[in-house]
């Protein structure tokens, strides 16, 4: 079999993108530890862990969903409005007291799922690019929120607020739920047919169709899951703030921040590759940065500046790395006249 091995370049073992994300995360943590101790505080404490994990949970939910959608070749810009809607719907129903908790959660998730289904169907049936479809749906919801609600709405009973406050061995319950969702999403992506088809459709929908994959199903399902995860984030915010808010999602900038976390985690914006593990790493990087800038009392507006810079630098690194794909055949460094 020399015939085909001859024409092929050496297949060097390469560091996976996920590994790089976590190396970067370790670097960020090391740098943070140095900065924080230089400021006279200690970094490696359980309160730091709790703080970082808390910061991770909300963006984590949204970013997991965003990962699914991006791998399937779409995009979701409607998540902030889904977050707000879930918090409003949940708070409205829970305002009646503890008996409203379960119906509130179910209703919020159902409404979120419906929005996700609308996103998915617009993308697949009307063949509108995810960017536009979800931007449009987001705007539609935002008009409704802006028209129907001014200020906060409803309330969450104390029983529900516990979810936002409970710590288990220093780890917030909300983060545990988020990580469980991440685990389920990873299982879905790697070990189910649907997951394989999400990659296939995002990689090349035409190829997937020729192989008998029903190409619309994975896209619609990932949109529904993404919206439901955003709904969970909205419910969690409700548990923390105890009132529903029509603007809480857009204030958090979850649309662009979640996309940034996904891309930071090594998933290609174009779809077809990547994974949840990397995304969690990306979310963690943002959380550590946020925590450190909080401890160092950095001007909150400067935070946005740092985030923006981190996103660009990280993605530039990935892009630069993927350019190095083809190894040179000759390494000569002669002079050129």
């Amino acid at each position: 079999m020399t015939a085909i091995t001859q024409a092929r370049p050496a297949r060097r073992a390469r560091l996976s993108t996920t590994a790089i994300v976590y190396i970067v995360l370790v670097g960020v943590i090391a740098l943070s530890a140095v900065l924080v101790s230089a400021a006279g505080e200690s970094f490696f404490t359980s309160s730091t862990l709790t703080s970082v994990l808390t910061l991770m949970s909300i963006l984590g939910f949204v970013a997991i969903g965003q990962t699914l959608v991006i791998i399937s070749g779409s995009l979701d810009l409607s998540v902030p409005y889904v977050v707000s809607t879930a918090s409003i719907v949940g708070a409205g129903i829970m305002a009646q007291g503890a008996a409203g908790v379960v119906p509130g959660v179910l209703a919020a998730l159902l409404v979120s799922a419906a929005i996700g289904a609308a996103n998915g169907l617009i993308v697949t049936k009307l063949r509108v690019h995810g960017f536009i479809a979800t931007l449009g749906v987001g705007l539609i919801i935002s008009g409704w929120l802006g028209t129907s609600f001014q200020g906060s709405f409803g309330s969450a009973p104390p029983e529900f607020r516990l979810i936002g406050a409970t710590l288990i061995a220093g780890v917030p319950l909300s983060t545990i739920i988020m990580l469980a969702c991440a685990g389920l999403a990873a299982l879905l992506l790697h070990r189910t047919r649907l997951g394989h088809h999400i990659y296939a459709v995002g990689g090349n929908a035409h190829v997937a169709r020729l192989s008998g994959v029903r190409t619309q199903v994975p896209v619609v399902v990932s949109h529904i899951l993404c919206s439901m995860l955003a709904g969970l984030a909205g419910l969690l915010l409700l548990a923390r703030t105890s009132v529903g808010s029509p603007t809480i999602g857009s204030q958090g900038g979850y649309d662009l921040m979640s996309i940034a976390a996904v891309v930071l985690g090594g998933t290609l914006l174009a779809g077809g590759s990547g994974g949840v593990l990397g995304t969690i790493g990306g979310v963690a990087i943002f959380a550590v940065l946020d925590h450190v800038m909080g401890v160092l009392e950095v001007n909150p507006f400067f935070k946005d500046f740092v985030r923006g810079a981190v996103i660009i630098v990280a993605v530039a690194l990935y892009a630069w790395r993927s350019l190095q794909r083809r190894p040179p055949r000759f390494h000569g460094k002669g002079t050129r006249t």
Binding site: H129, I132, I140, G143, F302, G308, V315, R326
Partner: protein, 352 residues
């Protein structure tokens, strides 16, 4: 086959109207009629001109966004650029008449720098423009709020604000003049070699580079044009609305909506610049009509959302059908121009 000549102007005009880029003008006329019926005063020249003055900033922003979109990229930093320019105007110019020209120069410089940054990071560092401009957007908003503390600060002198709210001889508002000049300039630019090259780069950057195009320079130029148009929009908005860091919020998406409504295809290679400006005006006109029939202005985002989805859904179909050959010769049909061509996946040459 002697059909190599171009078709007659009349036929070209009619078939152009059937493309999304042409249909937006039809939409514009329909909305104009609707607005005039709902409110007969609207059709009066002074009202129309005043309406046009109000839409000038978004129309100019849409023209800028058009260049970027047609080159195959996005500019999400537009709203943040507008906000930054507004704050610069408030703080640098302030109440000092003498600072007007230096202030404008500084704003244009900031516009060029942001455009260069967006363009160079996209082309040299190969970061998707979605991410790059998202980054510059975050950074600029952070910078603006850092400077202002998040509240309205500064107020430039009235003579500067005149650019945005004054008019020539009380008849022709300056924003309208500026819009017309920029629109004509953009139209000429798209007809010049630069415009064709921009389309070619948006359509197929690899082929463009191997044809001797400086693809990087072309894209960087598009980003600079976009930031500069945001700068001009900012200057007009200061006059119109004063200084507040939240001015400009959402402009990037509104500009993208307008460009898409004007029939340009996301991903590049297709679209007409005047249709983008017309898209922006049509969008504002639609809001006006809805206002006239008594729909709350808080519904504006919803309307915009529906419009953008419909425009893209219909546009994708329309470009395909309008510019397809009406009848194909047998040879062409069999050679692959089937009525339902399978979109051919790009071959993957592995690593050679």
């Amino acid at each position: 086959m002697t059909a190599l000549a171009q078709r007659s102007p009349g036929r070209r005009f009619l078939s152009a109207l059937a493309t999304p880029g042409g249909a937006v003008f039809v939409l514009l006329v329909v909305l104009l009629v609707a607005a005039s019926i709902a409110n007969p005063r609207f059709a009066e020249p002074d009202q129309l001109v005043r309406f046009l003055a109000r839409t000038a900033p978004i129309a100019i922003a849409a023209i800028g966004q058009f260049f970027v979109i047609v080159s195959g990229e996005f500019d999400l930093s537009m709203g943040a650029v507008i906000a930054a320019q507004v704050v610069i105007a408030g703080n640098v110019i302030g109440q000092d008449e003498a600072m007007i020209l230096p202030g404008i120069a500084l704003m244009l410089l900031v516009g060029v720098v942001v455009g260069l940054l967006n363009g160079l990071l996209t082309t040299l560092a190969k970061v998707p423009s979605f991410i790059v401009t998202l980054g510059t957007m975050l950074a600029l908003y952070g910078f603006v709020r850092f400077l202002t503390g998040g509240a309205a600060t500064g107020n430039p002198v009235d003579s500067f604000r005149e650019i945005g709210r004054g008019s020539l001889g009380d008849v022709l508002p300056y924003p309208v003049i500026i819009l017309v000049v920029l629109a004509v300039g953009a139209w000429l630019l798209m007809r010049a070699p630069f415009g064709h090259t921009l389309l070619a780069v948006g359509d197929n950057p690899v082929a463009a580079r191997l044809s001797g195009t400086r693809t990087g320079a072309v894209k960087v130029a598009a980003f600079v044009l976009s930031s500069l148009s945001a700068t001009v929009a900012g200057i007009l908005l200061v006059g119109y609305a004063g200084v507040h860091p939240s001015i400009g919020t959402g402009y990037e998406f509104q500009a993208i909506t307008a460009v898409v409504l004007g029939g340009a295809v996301l991903g590049g290679g297709r679209g007409w610049v005047l249709s983008a400006a017309a898209g922006a005006i049509a969008l504002e006109l639609l809001f006006t009509v809805l206002n006239q029939v008594g729909i709350d202005s808080t519904w504006r985002p919803s309307v915009q959302g529906i419009i953008i989805i419909l425009a893209v859904a219909l546009g994708a179909v329309a470009w395909r059908t309008a510019r397809r050959p009406a009848s194909v010769t047998r040879a062409e049909a069999a050679a692959g121009a089937d009525p339902d061509p399978i979109p051919t996946p790009t071959p993957t040459p592995g690593e050679q």
